[in-house]
Symmetry: C2
């Protein structure tokens, strides 16, 4: 359990000062909690596309919080201290105000949105949220996961073979599936600015994070997917991609 250090808090900016109207009050409440020595949310962060997606999501919403870097390359995320935070050994993990831990990036982003609804990056209505969740899961299951495992079981095998169950012979097939589903998605993007139409959402952040990662590990986007290529360039203009 990590308790907040009031002395350290004073030296930091308030986490929600930069947010839109309505967040100032909660920012002050948050500061009060800090000064009373109570816990605050904290992100256990690392290299890799999953933490990056959460950081992009937070940047788009103007959320700041303390971060602690876990040495993914050195395997710190598979050691006892992090396994107490996330028994699945993955990154990132969010520590909540009550000291409990939350993993899985979609669950983390949903939680951050519930606690800080504005600006809505999942949706402001049940229908908007439904649309974003539908597209996020399509990207998650059909593109991100086969792309990621295609890498883990292929170029990343030496790194991952002692960390997760690996099936090297599945790597080419999984890459083929991700590429095939991107081709399908390209057709869907013909008339869309973003996955949810005019709204830039978690679904776009998710896809961007994985496509950007893919381009670095031997799975670049086929430029024949011209609608996605245009969308990728559009999203790449956003300041949040640097998060």
């Amino acid at each position: 359990m990590v308790f907040f250090d009031p002395a350290g808090a004073a030296a930091q900016s308030h986490p929600f000062d930069k947010g839109p109207d309505g967040l100032l009050k909660s920012s002050r409440q948050h500061l009060l909690q800090r000064n009373l020595g109570e816990r605050t949310m904290k992100l256990y962060d690392s290299i890799g596309p999953n933490p990056r997606i959460v950081r992009m999501f937070m940047a788009e919403k103007g959320i700041e919080m303390p971060k602690q870097t876990v040495d993914l390359r050195g395997g710190e995320n598979r050691q006892a201290e992090h396994l107490k935070r996330n028994p699945h050994g993955q990154m990132p993990t969010l520590e909540l105000d009550d000291g409990s831990y939350l993993s899985e990036i979609t669950a983390i982003c949903e939680y951050l949105e519930e606690k800080n609804p504005t600006p809505a990056m999942i949706g402001a209505t049940p229908e908007e949220r439904a649309e974003c969740r539908m597209w996020t899961r399509r990207v998650d299951l059909n593109i991100a996961e086969p792309l990621a495992n295609g890498f883990r079981f292929g170029e990343g095998l030496k790194f991952f073979q002692n960390r997760v169950p690996c099936a090297p012979e599945a790597s080419p097939g999984l890459k083929m599936i991700a590429a095939n589903r991107l081709q399908w998605l390209d057709g869907q993007m013909a008339d869309r600015e973003y996955l949810c139409g005019k709204r830039f959402t978690l679904a776009d952040i998710f896809l961007y994070g994985w496509l950007d990662f893919g381009s670095q590990v031997g799975q670049p986007l086929d430029p024949a997917n011209s609608h996605i290529a245009a969308w990728f360039a559009r999203v790449g203009q956003r300041p949040s991609v640097k998060a």
Copy 2:
């Protein structure tokens, strides 16, 4: 677009009559909408574990609505009429009151929970929902998806090869991954009644639906996973498994 038939409505039970207190009023509003000939939600349903998970979720919540069966075996879900509902060609799909369509089972269940919060099968607070979403995604990515694709690319290949991109050589490895992650999960279940502790949630329904399917298609649960086996028997007592 499907408009509701008021004559047919009169012969049916009201969808929320069986719900807990507080739903009666919405039930009456719903009936009023029906009598005015407005649209109502409708589930495009079929055989298979995904629609079954949504039906179980609805049964646990006491939600009833009109259903239309799509002939999955005959490939109706891959034909133009269903592709208008879900361009990804999968089942199930929910038609919303405004005539739009929603796919992906987690998005459908989240939407149903938002519209009918009680009894909560995802969660009644942001923290409860976060915990359920975390477990649901762990099951989804690490167990359900490799189990499903292990089947689609293996025993189900003849059926699926003209429907989705298939990688037959990946089948054994994907089954190994699902089995490995079930072994991990068994350790996590040692002190738990359900995935979210005392709460029976969507995460359990999700896992149950896929394990039950696995047992029918050559991926039975290894009985050495004794905690999951006990949990499976416990969940199997619930009336909703017949939905």
